[in-house]
Amino acid sequence: MQAPSAPVYLIDGARTPFLKARGGPGPFSASDLATQAGRALLLRQPFAPSDCDEVILGCAAPAPDEVNIGRVVALRMGCGHAVPGWTVMRNCASGLQAIDSAMSQIRLGRSHLVLAGGVDALSRTPLLYSDAMVRWFSEMATKKTVPAKLQHFLRLKPSQLLSPVIALLRGLTDPVVGLSMGQTAENLAHRFGINRAEMDAFSVRSHQRAQAGLQSQAFKEIVPILDDKGKIYAVDDGVREDSSLEGLAKLRPVFDKPYGNITAGNSSQVTDGAAWCLLASEQAVQRYGLKPMARLLDLQWAGLDPAEMGLGPVHAALPLMHRHGLQHRDIDLWEINEAFAAQVMACIRAMADTEYCRTALPQLEGMAAGMLDESRLNIHGGAIALGHPVGASGTRITLHLAHALAQQQQRRGIAAICIGGGQGGAILMEAL
């Protein structure tokens, strides 16, 4: 058995281009996305897919015909019958949970080579029948004669038939406090005095940084994917060259009408995408002659009020830093998932607010509030420009952080993510 402090290495990773949902199901299912990215990643390794010890895939909304999508994809990627595959769900951080679970397995000595990732095809989340409609269908199935069926048919209320439940909207609404994710962000905007213009400016910057990243070939982790007609998808198609304050100012609020601040332009996009990280133990590194990108040092989960879920990164990252005796100046690069511009900005303000830190995180004695340098944060843009395929984001930010550290020749980084339902997750890594 390996000691709890046994090192876990991030060897390599890959992701699909992120494709914005544009009304109607997208060209790829979730397992299609994860399969194409995963098989490309496995192909460039010196071992066979069947040498993996397991496959762990985060997914917030797997389709009904592939509910254990981790296993489905492990088989589709050619890992073979003997490699177990499973699926994890921690809402927006499912992709980070997969990495955490892989780290635990490696630390326990149960696995040496793990493929951990995340995926969601939000464009394919279903429309559902309401309970009233389901009851109508069930009762119809009990009618045996044609007259009885006809009579039951006449009881159908068109309004019920024509108002399906939009599963995506349900999924993005907190079931305990009854707020949509956007409304939790409005809460934070109110609490930390973030106005519309500031949110929009943050969003424009996300697009600009993504553009610049594209130009500087910062996204080495993207593998192009193809549909069965030979059409290529090679870039994140939500990034807008024409993003501007004027353009964003025209958008109407989505979550609190009519005078809310959060719009489609300063929120993350609804997107399809998959991302993978290949994790290895010391033993696997030796055995296969692997060249790790980074060492994954530690990971922290935190819980907080669902009404303010956007502050999750603060609640997860600060204890992580405290545990390792790190200050803001010690962190070279940050990734904080951009669920909403207001939400990231609230995190920055909260971390710099002594009063907030004292009351919200009393256990962190002696930890000074600090200003997160925004020039080190999401340096190649974030989910506002790239999209937020819920299950994939936790993996994407971890993987991209490793690539960004390499590109900038920096050493230490934290990737953090807020989680619908009132949680946060953060991972600390060191580039090699």
Partner: protein, 638 residues
């Protein structure tokens, strides 16, 4: 009994399991049928509660009669005996008083289907290997053991004639839908289903509605006429008499070959039958060439995603290999992926199988697949320098024991391999266009090529369901070397003033699937010119070819060559009135001569293999048995 195992179950059902001794697949040889007949005699005295016929071999149900026995078909007396034997025996089987059932798993062809048709019930096991058909027509003969009698009565004459005239096979589900089998069941329930169905007392299947009507004697002439018209589109009666005979036998004799002995003599005695049988054995011989090595490939890497490379990769994935397809960037690989998607849609019914095939085909812009590959085939453009550079890059990354192959048509193995540290490992694996349709693959070895590499390559070719043809390294190998003088010779006739449509019509009448001028247009006139320069012994190219290439009329791909092309077909195809005597013979002469020369030079091991190679790559009139066979037999006849 040597070939049959008989057991009885608790209900008194007799299970007759066929395991033809000394054969890998079950066949209904004279001995097998004799034993069956003897067993029926015993059942006459003590009838079982029912009889189920099953195969004891994993290789399939029953592949048909013993084709070796067909070799004696040209002796009319023996032919008569073979036909009568099965006809009478299966009639007897159809008349026994106890229920009978045929449990079909795997290949069920010819006599195998006929014995099943004579049973009251049929069950097919729903697996990809299960295929039911009557392919006798492909050997130039007819389903003389009751197929022409019972199949139309069971599934209606239109569906039955379609099967018998084309030799096509049905899988289990289609067989069920057609009414050919009563049930399509999963393997896990096959024996239980058979045991239950045979005791169920269900009336035997009869077609209803329109198919039933069409069996009526008054309808037969109409249907027969329609069928003949359909056949005439594909096969001329003077070349392929068998399909016409099937129609006649069904219409006039209710499928009883013994009622029309003259017709049967014509069929059996026709050179077509002899030649088609010969072709069948040639095909078996090519298949066996892949058995000399036990090489097994799981991963194929193809470099060059053009028409050939892309399609080779798609074919490999269709046949179950993991395939990595490499080219310089994704936009060059994408069209190949689209074509692969279309191929899988056409050849695979099940959406899960289609998806699995796509999953197995992986675009690879950096050659990551090489380290994992069992076979690497380079199919980049025909430039020696480029191929040298590529081979040098590939060699150090190869797995030990991996095959390194080139799909080159025009470069020499001897020249290509100088770039390698181990030149002896390079073989040629040369596919034909279109890959999905052309069964032949030339496996090319030069002096100094490791024999193991060539044997492994042949085994690989066989494993992806193609026919390997061993050829020694020489310009054009076999197929292109014989086609070039043939096409150029045709063009010289054009220069002499004969119209292209006349030339092509002459060769189609001879039995080629398309004429040489149309072939040239299809291949591309620039390619024909280049090939001609390399492979022809005449100094200057035909004028008509030069003119067109200079003007950019390159054939089908540019919309105009010798013909006008539109939407992939010749526009305004004109009918040809008169074809000069002897034109076809003089057109085919260069091909025959060159084939003979290549055999003499040892490029191809013997005349039979040469014939096989030409037939399975060019579609050379199979009913003539191959160019050298035709040449030999016509000079015998004078």
């Amino acid at each position: 009994m040597r070939h049959w195992n008989l057991t009885r179950d608790a209900h008194g059902i007799a299970w007759m399991r066929l395991d033809t001794a000394g054969a890998s697949m079950n066949k209904l040889s004279a001995e097998v049928l004799a034993e069956f007949s003897a067993q029926l005699d015993e059942f006459d005295l003590k009838p079982p509660a029912g009889m189920i016929i099953q195969s004891a071999k994993d290789s399939g149900f029953i592949a048909g009669a013993d084709v070796e026995e067909f070799k004696a078909l040209d002796k009319p007396q023996q032919a008569q005996e073979i036909i009568a034997r099965g006809w009478h025996l299966f009639n007897r089987l159809a008349a026994v008083p106890y229920p009978t059932l045929s449990l079909i798993r795997g290949i069920c062809l010819g006599g195998g289907l006929e014995i099943s048709l004579a049973c009251r019930y049929r069950i097919a096991v729903d697996e990809p290997a299960t295929r039911l058909g009557l392919p006798e027509v492909l050997l130039g003969i007819v389903p003389g053991w009751g197929g022409m009698l019972r199949l139309p009565r069971l599934i209606g004459p239109q569906a039955a004639l379609d099967m018998m005239l084309t030799g096509k096979t049905l899988d289990a589900r289609r067989a069920k839908r057609a009414g050919l089998v009563d049930l399509a069941v999963p393997a896990r329930l096959m024996e239980r289903s058979a045991a239950e169905l045979i005791r169920s007392g269900r009336p035997p299947h009869r077609p209803s509605g329109l198919p039933a009507l069409m069996n009526h004697p008054l309808m037969r002439p109409i249907i027969a006429a329609m069928a003949k018209k359909q056949v005439a589109k594909k096969a001329r009666p003077e070349h392929y008499p068998a399909p016409y005979a099937i129609i006649d036998l069904w219409q006039k004799a209710d499928g009883d070959p013994l009622k029309m002995p003259q017709l049967m003599q014509t069929i059996i005695g026709s050179p077509t039958t002899k030649n088609l049988l010969r072709v069948f054995f040639l095909q078996e011989r090519l298949k066996s060439l892949g058995k000399e090595s036990s090489f097994k490939a799981k991963h194929l890497h193809v470099i060059g995603a053009g028409t050939m490379g892309g399609d080779i990769a798609a074919w490999g994935a269709l046949r179950g290999l993991t395939v990595t397809l490499q080219d310089q960037d994704i936009s060059r690989i994408a069209p190949a992926m689209g074509r692969a998607g279309a191929l899988f849609k056409k050849r695979l019914r099940d959406p899960l199988l289609r998806r699995a095939a796509m999953d197995r085909l992986i675009p690879d812009t950096t050659g990551e697949g090489i380290q994992h590959a069992d076979v690497v085939i380079e199919a980049i453009f025909e430039d020696l320098q480029a191929k040298h550079a590529l081979l040098q890059q590939i060699e150090p990354r190869l797995k030990p024991g991996a095959i390194l192959a080139t799909n080159t048509s025009s470069l020499r193995i001897e020249d290509l391999r100088t770039a390698l540290a181990d030149p002896s490992r390079l073989v040629g694996i040369h596919f034909f266009n279109p890959v999905a349709m052309m069964p032949l693959v030339e496996v090319i070895a030069a002096v100094g090529t490791q024999p193991q590499a060539a044997a492994d390559a042949a085994a690989f070719v066989r494993s992806i369901d193609k026919l390997p043809l061993p050829v020694k390294s020489a310009p054009g190998f076999l197929v292109n070397a014989v086609l070039a003088p043939y096409m150029l010779g045709a063009m010289r006739k054009l220069d002499e003033g004969i119209a292209p449509s006349v030339i092509d019509a002459a060769m189609r009448r001879f039995g080629m699937p398309m004429g040489p001028i149309e072939l040239a247009d299809t291949v591309g006139l620039d390619i024909a010119l280049a090939a001609g320069r390399q492979l022809s012994d005449v100094a200057s190219p035909p004028t008509c070819l030069m003119e067109r290439v200079e003007q950019g009329h390159l054939g089908k791909k540019s919309g105009r060559g010798f013909y006008e092309w539109s939407k992939g077909a010749i526009a305004n195809r004109s009918d040809v009135a008169a074809i000069p005597e002897g034109l076809a013979e003089s057109l085919i002469a260069p091909l025959v001569d060159r084939t003979e020369a290549l055999v003499q030079a040892g490029v191809i091991a013997d005349a039979d293999l040469a014939d096989a190679g030409v037939i399975f790559s060019t579609g050379f009139a199979p009913f003539r048995g191959g160019p050298l066979n035709w040449n030999k037999t016509r000079s015998i006849r004078g």
